[in-house]
Amino acid sequence: MDFIQNFPFFSILLSLGSGVLTSIMNKKAARIWNTFILTAITVMSAVLFVYMLDVGEPYTFMMGHFPAPWGNEIRAGVLEAGMALFFCIVMMLSLKGGQEHIDAEIEETKVNLYYIMINLLLSSLLALIYTNDLFTAYVFVEINTISACGLIMIRQSGRTIEAATRYMIMSCLGSGLLLMGLCVLYDITGHLLMSNIKESVAYVYAQGTYKVPLVASIGMICVGLAIKSALYPFHTWLPDAYGYSTVSSAAILSSLVSKGYIFLLIKIFFRVVGFDVIVDSKIVNILFVFGLFGMIMGSVNAILENDIRRMIAFSSVAQIGYIYMGLGLGTTIGIVASIFHVLSHASTKSLLFIAGVGLTDASGGSKKFVDLTGSGYRNPMAGVAFAIGACSMVGIPMFSGFISKLLFAQAAVANNVGKQLPTLICLAVSTVLNAIYFMKTVIRIYTPSGRNAKKTQAGEAALMSMKEHPLYHVTLLFMIILNMILGCCSQPIVDWITSGLAMFG
């Protein structure tokens, strides 16, 4: 066995362990240590990714001393390694972009607690990506939820505590369903390791016995994970949680936490139940319908919103709808499009949140649209970054959002079971709605603030320059580059996702 094959285990253990270690550090040490750990894990994931591309074969890694049907396992392939790398990069950028706000908005003695949450979140995300055992996945789903809850409520205000409570309630509903689904599946198949379950499910399904419990358990798992990743009717906690928490938390929650659950769901589709069984059980159709609803309703809510952070949050609801729509198409190209949209949305949404906070800072801290007039001139870099993020979300070529919309449209055209037309219509309508609210915002931030000069005087004083906030500007630059890479060099990325999915099977 090559030494590099230990890297997934090292990264999970390192972030989990450093979470414990951070609790005894002071603010500055915690920050430096966290940056160091995050860099180390990014490097390890990158090395593993290159290694996996080279080897081209997934491998399983035995945890503990018991072999396959009894013991616990980690499994790594091209897709897993690449996802881990991408998640680490986005997390690093979101943390660095919002660092000034972390320092300003969180109580002095509690900043190290913030980094504990970040470390635990990272370890649970990595574990969700790499694990080959369903019950381990459940335990890390709960760790993910608890640390995400901490990220929301660490900025103390009535709004965030209420948002955290709502988030916990919805998450508990989701994980209750997930746990029950897993138990029923375990009961039917007698295994907890994903590859063993898949064999048993294929056997049981071919026999035709236990059809109802099998479909019920798949349904519970799908709905549970959909609730946790804020699919449309279950999104009520989301605007408050993203709108009032500190900006790094909002960026990490929208771009990573919900994506971790979606990645787990895709893994369950391919590695646990088997894609044929999933498509045959018609559950994808339900996800498809809710996805379409989400695409339209999320955008409509975003148009009605009067607060920039909440608008971006509602836009997340719409984008999650896109991802579930792609899963619901029930074809492999649909799943490829969804995974690409996971990447594209993660990079764009964190960019929008970080750029948005620059604009509100330049407007005296107000998040209302009226006060944002002309803020693109007061904070030029944030204005450009927001415009780029908006273009990407609307789907202008050269940016990542365009590629994912193209992939969704291609997947819809290739589909021939009556989902073609609804998908294309909803894509078109949703794009127009996206354009309405994002272009409205971009036009507003580039409208010279003649009439509102009095209101924004406080903002004028806070003109943000490159010299005062070097870290913020460099982060935005990196985020823009990441977005452009996804938008301009999409073919290798799509090839990577396709080969990774083939390794899943």
Partner: protein, 124 residues
Amino acid sequence: MGGNLLANYGEAVSMILFGIGFSNLLLQKNLIKKIIGLNIMDTATYLFLAEKGYIAGRAAPIVVDNVTSVEAYINPVPSGLVLTGIVVSVSVTALMLSLTIRLYRRYHTLDMDEISTMLKKEDQ
């Protein structure tokens, strides 16, 4: 159908309890009642696992009198899962209770809807 239900009444009861807990967690306004619902829901899952993991007449797999036949013992994994689940559920409940205390100190009510209206008033 009826015979199956009678043979598996434990599983049936656990599913009903799961439904009761789930709807309480979703629909109750009072936070404490929500948390009680959460606990009923989690416990129902453990009942299901325990019920499925036990085979009548067999013992826990601890070898004391040199009986090594597989027929004499049950599979210990479901019981292990119950323990893991209990640990998770305890931590989630603790977190929910601490959030409830925070909200109560701030708003002097346990009703989620009232808290929402107060928050809206705060904004204006």
